[in-house]
Symmetry: C2
Subunit: 395 residues, 2 copies
């Protein structure tokens, strides 16, 4: 067997760990809080079917042909209208690029902003998909501790002061994995610091529409004059199977992003873009989002009340105002990986915290998803998990 | 205005040249042979609509959820069955990765096989999308002259003998842009040389099903024991708007490709994959492909007979057995870019040959697409183009 020489970058991408975990958690007998799936019971199946048929009636073969790399014009226009409606922000469709899910936005930004020696500065714990995407383009990922209200600002400014930062990446609302959101003060501060050091800010916001308590805050990038790149996605307000996301940026940056977008996949599915647009035209998306918020809010409340009932008092947890995840911290010295093995034997699963830490650490942390399981499974699963934790701590 | 520091790779990707040309050629008054679009009049609109509705009936919300990075199992199985039916080749679904168009396969292979100093060895002239994708990952693209029947073998072997080749890339049938195909002898020789020097071979075959004369030959990679990666696409046998392609490779290579696939966009649209599969289940794809072959064959014959009638005798052209393109060579010293400007004034467009040459050259060459325009437009367009060439040569 010939051994082919692969590029160095292959050796530094986090590989199979989380895929292995999700594989274990995919066992239908297991109650899984491990994945990051939206709840399919709310998918607008009938409405999307109508949108497809409307589209075939009105546009025929057009959604089936090659299309522009930038994306479908009316969908780019919808993105702008949405930010205007939610925050009064003015974007122009020319500043919107449709991506193949917001994961692709991380790939494109990595290509444009990163190279070996130019770091990606992000949260600790941070989104695993971003660590994976960025580590293909730089040998330097710097994680700044995530507090209850965003980056630790001293350490964040320190990371930029060192120079050589290529991009800052953050999730402003209901962060994956911690569930925490940036306060208004930290939004302003992060925006100011990025501008001061001339580092572009990649603001990911997949969960912002999924708020079930508190008040929406403006995107961090909206506090910047330039250098802000804001990401969004159809995956959490509509369906993830379409792989439709977007990024907004000023022209100079967007031009570079479009060039690498074209090289990546020419364009995002023209069919899915047009179906998504037709669906958004036909339906009241706010009403649908309200249904999603209510369900996820109920699930989150239920999970927290069960945690309070079944987990030992020394276990800490976050209390998110939206999104899909909460974050558990076991007492110092505990290993969530060991707990994972015990939990799987009891037919319940979660994601241990280490993969969200690019350079190790977080051994005593874990992520729980509350969007996907039904209420009975949440009750039974948290009960089982509480029992496992008690046994583990009682060792 | 802050100037952000972008990664070095941004400076070496071929940028707007061809996009500008396609923009000019997009003027509805212009008869364009510039793009590379399949003919939408043959798109199976009714059949795809039926497939979508069948799918909603039978699988409900399933095609709308997140899915596996590897792709939809039954579609991977179909890919294997297709190679078995066409060539008697045995692939296992575990060795198939579904990609977001075959353009994405180039991005993934670039990530896995290339880095600065490790060259991509490809044809000259070569596919522009590959030059774009590879130049993001290596500073070294080596183009080996393309003859009527494939690589110039001496120069090809010389390129590998130099060492440091990360991957060989070729289009085995009806190459873009030249229209030329590899002979059986060159298939065997290229396979042997790749194995001898231990360099993986990325064989792109978007047009192989579009043969309108001659006999199908086995893929180049089928002559290799290991290191062969074969690409295919739904874009030319079905529709390109879905962005569905695939790559087959041995497990060691495929594992690395799946890791970078996951970082690129998590997975290809689950919806489009399932719709494509349902369509392939419902319909007789061979009958549809036969219709496409016949139309493109008629268009190609027509274009060649018009070239013979209207172009000066010193203009050379290829005579492809399939695909979508033919390749024109003007006398030495001519500039197809100058001709392009004159042609656009006469409302006819093509792609000048220089962008298919990564390091310059090909000034007197140009690519004509015969799949997209209708027969009346081909007649009128080639007449106009002949007039322009005569005027240009008569200067």
């Amino acid at each position: 067997m010939v051994e082919y020489i692969l590029a160095t970058r292959n050796r530094r991408v986090p590989r199979s760990f989380i895929r292995e975990i999700l594989k274990v958690a995919g066992d239908p007998d297991i109650i899984s809080f491990a994945g990051g799936l939206p709840n399919a019971s709310l998918f607008p199946v009938r409405e999307l079917r109508k949108a497809v048929n409307d589209l075939f009636d009105s546009r025929g073969a057009d959604p089936l042909q090659y299309a522009a790399s930038e994306g479908f014009g009316p969908l780019r226009e919808w993105v702008c209208q949405r930010y205007k409606k939610r925050f009064g922000l003015e974007y122009s469709p020319e500043n919107v690029l449709i991506t193949t899910g917001s994961q692709q936005a991380l790939d494109l930004a990595g290509k444009v902003f990163l190279e070996d020696g130019r770091s990606a500065v992000m949260e600790r714990p941070g989104y695993l998909g971003a660590i994976q995407a960025f580590s293909l383009f730089t040998d330097r990922i710097i994680q700044v501790p995530m507090e209850d209200d965003g980056f630790d600002l001293n350490l964040f400014e320190g990371a930029l002061r060192r120079g050589s930062a290529g991009v800052v990446y953050l999730i402003s609302n209901f962060q994956n994995p911690s569930g925490a959101s940036y306060s208004l003060e930290k939004r302003e501060a992060v925006a100011r610091i990025c501008e001061e050091y001339g580092v572009p800010l990649l603001e990911d916001d997949p969960y912002g529409e999924l708020r079930f308590s508190g008040e929406d805050l403006r995107p961090v990038t909206s506090f910047m004059e330039s250098g802000g790149v804001l990401l969004g996605t159809f995956s959490k307000i509509g369906v993830p199977g379409f792989r439709i996301g977007w990024m907004t940026a000023e022209s100079e940056i967007l031009d570079s992003l479009i060039v690498v977008k074209q090289a990546a996949d020419l364009h995002t599915s023209a069919f899915d873009q047009q179906v998504a647009w037709q669906y958004l035209e036909n339906e009241d998306i706010d009403k649908h989002i309200q249904d999603v918020r209510e369900l996820y809010g109920r699930h989150c409340d239920l999970m927290i009340s069960l945690i309070e009932e079944h987990f030992p008092a020394q276990v800490r947890y976050t209390r998110p105002d939206g999104g899909m995840f909460l974050w558990i911290t076991l007492p110092d010295g505990c290993s969530s990986l060991e707990l994972f093995e015990a939990a799987v034997r009891q037919k319940v699963a979660f994601v241990p915290g280490t993969p969200f830490h690019a350079d190790g650490g977080g051994e005593n942390t874990m992520r729980l998803n509350f969007s996907n399981a039904d209420e009975r499974s949440i009750e039974e699963g948290i009960r089982r998990l509480g029992k496992c934790i008690k046994e583990y701590l009682g060792k």
